[in-house]
Symmetry: C2
Subunit: 199 residues, 2 copies
């Protein structure tokens, strides 16, 4: 065995794992994909997968080149209260930050359009990662009959802001500060998450 | 000259014109592209372009494989009043109809992500076709200081609904009737178009 053989530090190993993960997530979806199957496809020890990626969400973000974990976006604002303003502001700040990387919104959007399997995996991931959270999360009030509607509507407004800003590049949305966009669109998120929607 | 030589009915001629139009619109943008330049590139008489396509918007829709003219989407509802409900309903009905064609939302979105030039041309086209209309159109009230903001925000919510329905396919947005989605999202469009947005 060469001294470089199985060293955790080999950069190719990480790339191999990511490539295997992309294939398995696209084929199996997010929930059904197992780290074991990914390790097998990458021909590495499952422990090595854990060495590079803390958990399944982290591996998914890397494999799909998603620029950030969506969970903090929905964290509550001041005084623990949900704030549409904060959600919009953070969402755009995070995508703005990602603009300089290979995980730009345009790149992620293109991958989702190009492959329904990728779009399906992203949807499942969002479902698992942010929609099925402990009570207190957006729309996750028990016995809330419109929880699914609320989640889909919040997603629609956030995705549409990103689309208009980064792909269509329509002014003033293309270059306005996140906090200003949040003033315009925050109330929409508040209504979808907590207000009257089935009027 | 063969009897099929320059006959307006040749299907290749139409395809030739569309291919030339795609190249010219992507290179020059919507406003600067001229039908004459498109005819020259397609090596046909400019009159033939007019034979196949009534006007520049019609040629653009064909070239970019856009499934419908966006103008009717914003036409006023009953009693001439603007109705966010109607805008959402028509927008989704038209994209639903296009799902079966090569002009599906996913195909159009993918083309825009793949080429900034295509996205730029679409933005210019929307600007020309629906945003600079006669007074009475959305946000087109003279001296309305937030007109651009209103247009961009309306676009963001409509695009986000299409994204969530056709690309992310997140339920219940993926399969709800357009009229139901319009009940949820119509008030957002009303607020963006006519209400208080800079709170």
């Amino acid at each position: 065995v060469s001294p470089l053989g199985r060293r955790p530090g080999r950069p190719e190993t990480r790339a191999q794992i990511l490539e295997a993960a992309r294939a398995i997530f696209a084929a199996e979806g997010y929930e059904r994909a197992s780290l074991r199957a990914i390790a097998r496809r990458a021909r590495v020890d499952p422990a090595l997968v854990h060495h590079y990626f803390a958990d399944k969400p982290a591996l998914f973000l890397g494999a799909m080149r998603l620029p950030f974990d969506p969970r903090p976006v929905q964290e509550h604002g001041e005084a623990g209260r949900f704030s549409g303003f904060r959600v919009v502001q953070r969402f755009l700040e995070m995508w703005d930050e990602a603009q300089r990387s290979e995980s730009s919104f345009v790149a992620v959007a293109q991958a989702m359009c190009a492959s329904p399997a990728v779009a399906d995996a992203v949807r499942e991931f969002l479902g698992e990662r942010i929609f099925r959270r402990a009570p207190g999360a957006v729309g996750d009030v028990p016995a809330e009959p419109l929880a699914m509607e609320r989640r889909a509507l919040v997603s629609s407004q956030l995705m549409g802001l990103a689309w208009t800003r980064y792909v269509l590049r329509l002014e003033p949305l293309a270059s306005a500060e996140p906090a200003l966009v949040a003033r315009w669109a925050g109330p929409t998120i508040d209504r979808y998450a907590l207000g009257e929607i089935d009027g």
